[in-house]
Symmetry: C2
Subunit: 361 residues, 2 copies
Amino acid sequence: MTTERILEGLARREPAALARAITLVENQRDGFEQVLSHAHGLLGRGGTRRVGITGPPGAGKSTLTEALIQRLRTQRLSVGVVAVDPTSPFTGGALLGDRIRMESVSLDPGVFIRSMATRGAQGGLAITTEEVADLLEAFGFERVLVETVGVGQTELDIARTAETTALVLVPESGDGIQALKAGVMEIADIYVVNKSDRPGADKFRQEVEVMLGIRRGNAFRHVSPHHAARPRADSGTGGRADRAGPPSDGPTVRPSDPWEPPVLATVATTGVGVDELAAALDRHYAYLQASGKLAERRRQRLAARTRAVLERKLRRWLLEATRVEELLALRLDEVADGRRSPYDVAAEILDQVKAGGGATR
Amino acid sequence: MTTERILEGLARREPAALARAITLVENQRDGFEQVLSHAHGLLGRGGTRRVGITGPPGAGKSTLTEALIQRLRTQRLSVGVVAVDPTSPFTGGALLGDRIRMESVSLDPGVFIRSMATRGAQGGLAITTEEVADLLEAFGFERVLVETVGVGQTELDIARTAETTALVLVPESGDGIQALKAGVMEIADIYVVNKSDRPGADKFRQEVEVMLGIRRGNAFRHVSPHHAARPRADSGTGGRADRAGPPSDGPTVRPSDPWEPPVLATVATTGVGVDELAAALDRHYAYLQASGKLAERRRQRLAARTRAVLERKLRRWLLEATRVEELLALRLDEVADGRRSPYDVAAEILDQVKAGGGATR
């Protein structure tokens, strides 16, 4: 399918064209930036909200995402999902089979689910995810969910491309709680304790709240750009399902109010707590709007994106159009036996690029 | 301290100069590549071996590393340690306090321990870690240990800069075992079940062995460049302490033998199993030598490093010496309101670079 054909198909809102566009972007094939550039012009018009859902393996993120999709569908909101597994270079995509579990929603034409095989997209996974989310938004989905597995830096970078980040834990999240202790998880706007019908779930949720409280009071704490937290924990749950719905029906948020990440309890398999999660997502979006952070963050993300796109273009140009590999092959023996260092060789190549790399095209 | 002074100090093997050199490299300050280029010329001469130790938070990696250092010191081997916490951009370095626990060895002049604050070194953490390891090797340490927290892609990239990678788990590694199931952990050459005196440890170790066996037989398995595994598990433990020592005293390894990652049981706090770990490290090194993989991997790492250094240099040059930020500031309004896309703007800037970016210096 040509780029032209994909663009035409997208204009006609054909799911097959969307699928092709995503594959094009994932593989960075010819024309992918043209498609993305086109999509960029369609962003920010339909009030699409992006939600990142992350957490350790086994926390039930897929099931929770599925339950959330069902909830959003009762509001007739269309939902695009991109599921990313940063570990898949190592698994060859074996985990992706899990996504098939979202079968209750996979045939709904108002829902589009895409798993991303990462194929070792070195350093570029977060930007590629954001680009796929752009395609989903440009296509017209009113909610775009970005689901990613893990609690490391890569996963958090991915989750941070969304406007609201939810972190899903389970009572037995041993490593998860360690990461929480370490402050890794301060990045989230909403915390979810899933499988909360298990023994010890209440205690675990209290521990999470206490840790967030402690972390907030800690002199070493990292003030996340995602929230300005006050030095106390806020359970933020219970009886708020009635606040679900678009922000205009939601609670009043004063611009000066800081966001206090709630710790919610869910049982994704039975749907318990999913209304509260949807309500918390609405509250957070209302907060972002009222505080002016929505526009501010969007601008920051666009500046960061432009830098990242430029770096990627430059790297591709450098590796494809200049004689880098040739020079590298010539010099590798000298590097391997210590006569020259990687720094000398890199400097030599850079000098050639500066002196007129364009001429080597 | 000037670069000249640092180089002189390194030549005289002053630990203070080493510490300064590491700081220089960590922060990529002026002269850091000069120091690294110098260090490069000193590599591969003293038979230094690099060992990566990774695993989920709370697995006891620091304690195990400390016990391993004590073991190596009984052989009078000097040991340099670089401890990296990829999550520290979020913690502000709070976890680094844990390293202080290595107090039994921290005053030993044959041991040098350095914690790396990562300061959000975007995408470059693995290369910076490898560069710090270079400094330790060039300084003359006979063993360089790279300890990192986590089981995500970033952590594995870091661990893979070493010749041998050990993955440390504990019986309660819930998330760890999930990652193992997902094949994330196939990357390791040696598996360690630490805290193996806890209830359920034997069962857990057997599970790990079975999983490795299953994974090896799985059609979707990723064949790690770190080992060529056969489709069966090998416990590889027990009664091998006598095999410790330099490879010349070690077991005979036939070049054609594949490496079968052992699953060892340790109790780092009491030293149980540490001899076996040291022996397994020796066996793996002997295997790398006999199979020719040591030289092969070194060459691959140097090629990858040269590419990475070049990309970093180019990015720095681009961001510092060209008018990227200026152009970006000029265009950001147009990008934010959708008139132009990040792709258009990046293409415009790249065109300027190609047309003679050097001239903007």
